[in-house]
């Protein structure tokens, strides 16, 4: 892309356009070309568009999150009461909180589905390995958003979830002790912890996610969206036949998905509004306690294995997921037709599903 050719201002341009073009000397034609990515035909179907869905939901989270921050008090003595007030007293507070909560669930589900789609279609292979790694990091940050988010409510699940997470962090070899103390902000889970979780949730993680997302989208644009082999076995010779322009067609698909999401979120928020459980009580762990659904598998894994093994195995699995393109490349170097990734992915999905359903079915 060349951005040095100067602004594309024609004699017919209005005076404000001329003024703007001279103050912001960007080659609009080059910018238009760069942003108007040719999109493979399979993206005409919305179920292949899960990559854009988390980005749309992140927008929803940013807006509703800022609104929630107006009334939320990040202090162990007031957090729960502020959420209670927000939910029961502030006009439409329950609605904004419910939208925020449901959007978080949908965002995590959409990222997981998107990662699965990319994995099973082999779209992570060269030259897109770095973008896969950015995607895995985006998944980790999104899960971090979920964890810090439900911790801020300061109900029983929040307190005991943070306690378990901090003690889990302690069990990480070498750096665990320091990291656990950094998370707690002191000797035990309390106000310092809540402040840190709040800063992570509204400052550090949004910044991190924005940067990762920008890198992710930039690499997608530079490499283009992966074209599926099954779509055009005898590939059309010219790109125009295999793709369609981002603007306005794909942009319109995203708008329609956005409208659908807004409708779904509104229905979910109205029919199943976010509730408030018992306030955090550091002296008593409830007899029945479970994290949110996306951590069921880790919760069950912790019940089945020793702490050290659980921490090391989860960390190792995450590392394998991160570097999978390079492992896959090695495997395919030996056998170019190797579909080992499909089997590995299928086993991983089954294991995660079994652990998740097992925990969901457990009475306590």
């Amino acid at each position: 892309m060349t951005m040095t050719a100067g602004p594309a201002v024609t004699p017919e341009s209005s005076s404000w356009a001329t003024w703007l073009a001279s103050r912001v000397p960007i080659d609009l034609e080059a910018l238009r070309h760069f942003s108007n990515e040719p999109v493979p035909n399979h993206l005409k179907y919305w179920w292949w568009c899960l990559g854009g869905t988390p980005a749309l939901l992140f927008g929803v989270q940013a807006v509703t999150g800022i609104l929630l921050t107006v009334y939320y008090i990040p202090d162990a003595g007031s957090a729960y009461e502020s959420v209670d007030r927000l939910t029961t007293v502030i006009p439409f507070g329950w609605f904004i909180r419910s939208i925020h909560r449901w959007a978080s669930h949908l965002m995590i589900a959409a990222v997981i589905l998107h990662v699965m789609r990319v994995f099973f279609t082999g779209a992570y292979r060269a030259p897109r390995e770095l973008n896969w790694m950015l995607g895995v990091l985006l998944l980790a940050v999104t899960l971090g958003f979920g964890f810090t988010g439900y911790s801020l409510v300061w109900e029983q699940l929040s307190y005991w979830g943070v306690t378990v997470a901090a003690n889990l962090t302690d069990a990480v070899p070498v750096v665990g002790g320091v990291m656990g103390r950094m998370l707690r902000g002191g000797e035990s889970v309390g106000s310092n912890t809540l402040t840190r979780l709040f800063i992570l949730h509204i400052g550090v993680m949004p910044t991190l996610l924005t940067l990762l997302l920008a890198g992710h989208i930039l690499l997608i644009r530079l490499h283009g969206v992966t074209e599926f082999e099954f779509e055009s076995p005898d590939k059309a010779p010219d790109e125009a036949a295999r793709t369609y322009p981002f603007f306005p067609h794909h942009a319109m698909t995203e708008v329609i998905i956005g409208v659908g999401l807004a409708f779904a979120l509104t229905c979910l928020a109205v029919i199943f509004p976010a509730e408030l459980a018992e306030k955090a009580n550091p002296l008593e762990t409830p007899a029945h306690i479970k994290p949110e659904w996306y951590f069921f598998w880790t919760f069950r894994w912790l019940k089945l294995t020793s702490l050290t093994f659980a921490v090391l195995s989860i960390g190792f699995a995450g590392f394998l997921a991160l570097i999978w393109p390079y492992i896959d490349e090695r495997l395919r170097r030996r056998n170019t037709a190797s579909e080992a990734s499909v089997y590995v992915g299928a086993v991983a999905v089954v294991v995660l599903l079994v652990l998740t359903i097992w925990e969901a079915m457990a009475s306590s």
């Binding site: 005991w160 378990v164 901090a166 103390r181 019940k303 702490l307």
Partner: protein, 150 residues
């Protein structure tokens, strides 16, 4: 591309300077964020009259700070157990019918002596922390060794 000596030294000096400034900044931020070390102290906490725990019995007591501890009067004297699960820090509760402690977080089970009998704590060979019990006249005190914020 060849780099002459002057250029190499200049680049090295700039890189070293930037790395040193970065390390200094990181250590300042790390020191700022890392919590201050707490102070370890021992204190005695009143639990109950000794007459409420006759020989051969044990029962949970609510401590003044709201926590619970199981005090037992065995052949070896009084013993008290913490209700903090050594696995991941949840609070165990006593189930009278089964005569054991249960941790609701990851299904750890401990016998009346505090030894883990099933679940992840048993895999790790863990047990509930024992407090020392001090008897002064007819009164029982727990001796707590704790770390407090400063």
């Amino acid at each position: 591309m060849r780099t002459d000596r002057r250029q190499f030294l200049l680049s090295s000096a700039v890189a070293t300077g930037l790395a040193s400034a970065g390390a200094l900044l990181a250590s300042i931020v790390g020191r700022y964020l890392y919590p201050r070390a707490g102070v370890r102290r021992t204190r005695q906490l009143y639990v109950a009259p000794a007459s409420e725990v006759p020989p051969g019995t044990g029962r949970p007591f609510t401590l003044p700070d709201g926590g619970t501890a199981l005090i037992a009067n065995t052949d070896g004297g009084y013993a008290a157990l913490s209700n903090l699960c050594p696995h991941l820090g949840c609070k165990v509760h006593w189930e009278e019918t089964e005569r054991h402690f249960v941790c609701p977080c990851h299904d750890g089970i401990f016998d009346a002596d505090g030894a883990a009998v099933s679940g992840p704590p048993a895999d790790e060979g863990q047990q509930l922390t024992r407090y020392q019990v001090v008897q002064v006249g007819d009164h029982l005190f727990l001796e707590l060794d704790e770390v407090v914020e400063v």
